[in-house]
Amino acid sequence: MLTFLARRLPSVALMLVVTALIAFLLPRLGGGDPAQVVAGPDATLAQVEAVREQLGLDRPVLVQFGDWAGRIVTGDFGTSLISNRPVAQLIASRLSSTMELAIAATLLMIVMGLGLGILAGSVRKGGSRAAIDGTLSVLLATPPHVTGLILILILGISWRLLPISGEVSVFDDPVTGLTYLILPAFALALPQAAMIARLIQARMSQVREEDFVDLAKAKGVPPRRIAISHVLRNSLGTAVIVTGVRVGEILAGAVVIEAIFARQGLGTLAVSAIQSRDYEVVQIIVLFAVVIAVVVHFLSEILLAALDPRIRLDS
């Protein structure tokens, strides 16, 4: 396992360096000018230039990158160009909102994905299978923001069962916090759960055709035990690695879902920072998102390696 980890670490480090470079350059290639945003749309050229100088944006890009990278290494994430607050403070104030949503959505995704996947992989009769396949197709094809709006319309506005705007931290008030989390977490988790379910279903069908399953049948192993110990156990590896990738998708989807449900998370911060060309905030959010995705992916690889000795041996 240690050899496996040691071989993965250099690629992770390289990925972070490349990401830092992209995170720095990308916002600057998108047009627009933070000095213009700070000075306002009615500003004169002289006012914009004065603001640019004040923000240090009149320096060469390479100098700005060197300055930024140097600060990142020392743990200084910089100051927002728009609000003049430390970026670390801005991110910290939004982090818990996004993490609550992401964790709730991930749990729902795993529970629903596994449940639907096992159900879809177990049912082989025509009518039931068509119904499950149809449901999975609809869930897969419906993007989170559409699901979110439908949930708002039905459960929030028509039936008034759950709040549709804002948030209360589950650490401050667990019950109320959960009521605010249910709709956005469902909207975010459904398509991802359907994706996992599809993969488990396909893998279970594949495994069922394997020789060791036929052998188990020939030996008279009960069908229930074959389904759980042979088919399901050998199908879950796919689900584990895909779940890691899906967590990244959930974080990306949170940008839209936070906007629809008016939650003040990192997604909302990212959108407003991009709109206002707040380079300092955008850079750190991109870097942060990549680090999260890399870490989750890395963890899922470790888990997979633990589950499947072939992966460790290959490494």
Partner: protein
Amino acid sequence: MTQICKKGPRFGVASRRSILKSGAAILSAAVLATTSVQAQEGTPKDGGTLRIAQTADIQPNNILAGRGGNNPFRHNVFDSLTVLDSETGQPRGVLATDWSSSDDGLTFTVQIRDDVTFHSGRPMTAEDVVYTLEQVAVPTNSSQMKPLVDEWISIEATGDYEVTITSETPIAPRVFDVFQLAVIVDRETFGGLQDGSEVIGTGPFEFDSWSPGASVRMTRNEDYWDDPAHLEAVEINVINDSTAMANALRGRVDMVLDLTPRDQVMFQGDPNIEIFNSPGGQFFPLGIDVTAEPFDNKALRQAIGYAIDRERIIDQVMSGAGEAASVWWRSNETGSTDEINSYYSYDPDRARALIAEAGAEGTTVPINVIGYGSVPAIYEIVQNNLRDVGLVPQGQILETAAFDQRQTAGDLGASFMQIHGLQGFSAATLVDALPALRTNNPSKFDPPRYEELKLALQSAQGEEAYAAALQELANFMLDEAFSHVLIKAQPIGAKRVEVQDLEFDNTGFLHLADTWLDD
């Protein structure tokens, strides 16, 4: 000395309670018909927290500049010397008790209250007023009033509670636009506005906390120089998505500001919600580069003005919440006439005749459109109208930040569709403050006659002279057709019926000192 305005019934300062009523107009939940805000019968109740939602964040670092996000915040934490009345457009004293101008208009003196303290407990004096007005001229403070203050020779404290301004050009009436925007800041903590760590004003609410991009909280100033506010606290929630913001009115907040025409429809027929229009708002101009062929032909520029169906834009894009207009200032501006306000009305036949006169049939009209708010939707109607009269529009939607950058550089191409705020300021100020009209405007319209007429308006002393100068300038600008105002849109808001006595001034800034909750 000629007295421009003295303390009296009309411009009295004894109590702010009387100065700003009628600023807002309620639209019934079903019909966009305006009426004055009616106070609930009975005594206002003290206490409660008013929860507001808006799409833009506050910008304490730009407190001296016009910013949409600051409108519900600025005049509650801070006070200005005067405010512009929403009905008359005339100044009324707040921190200023009296003001006067010399006969030649080149010296202006203002007296201020002697009983005002900042939230820090420090008494406010004339030195704070001088400091504030000097900050308006600092480029990094981004005030739209900088060109006006730049004209002033000196700003001096001529007493503990008296400030004197001198200039080489007449100071009033434009000085009241400067006063409207330049809320008095505490010179000792001005640096704290940069990151919002110290936001010290003299207003009816004290700044309590700010989570950038998320929320702001203000609490009642118990030591206010006037009667303390009824509300115990005010919370402003920032919700960037306009539809999500509208949805917040279903239990999360008491009032939402800057609703889109589309989103206000969701409250129609709801007896618990009132939709209202407030003063201020936005202009939607279509500018033309007068140096670009064939648009250097005035007849072609005028044809474009007649080709556009403004009423259709109001009906189809703004759901009725707008005003067809040809000029850049509010219709209550001194000297405004119906003839000027509706100079260009929809007349496709006349447009075709003018195009023929210019020999411009089939001309391609490249239009750069700001991708903000309703402007792209307005462009759809504009391009349809231009096609109808035989022109070939070619639109390009530009992202807001990129458009603003090109606007500041004066490089928007042959024609362009902009969006401007600052409604409610005087025409004399707007001609220098609006990018579409000021020197180095993207229309490249800067003939000596234009400068001469602008100066005449800015120098006019007295209502009669001002009205005459405005009409002459307006007729010249409209005839030259370098910038067509398509429509003006007032901000739309919605509130729970329990929210009482909302007050807006002429530029749409919200004043909450008298607001109360009937819960």
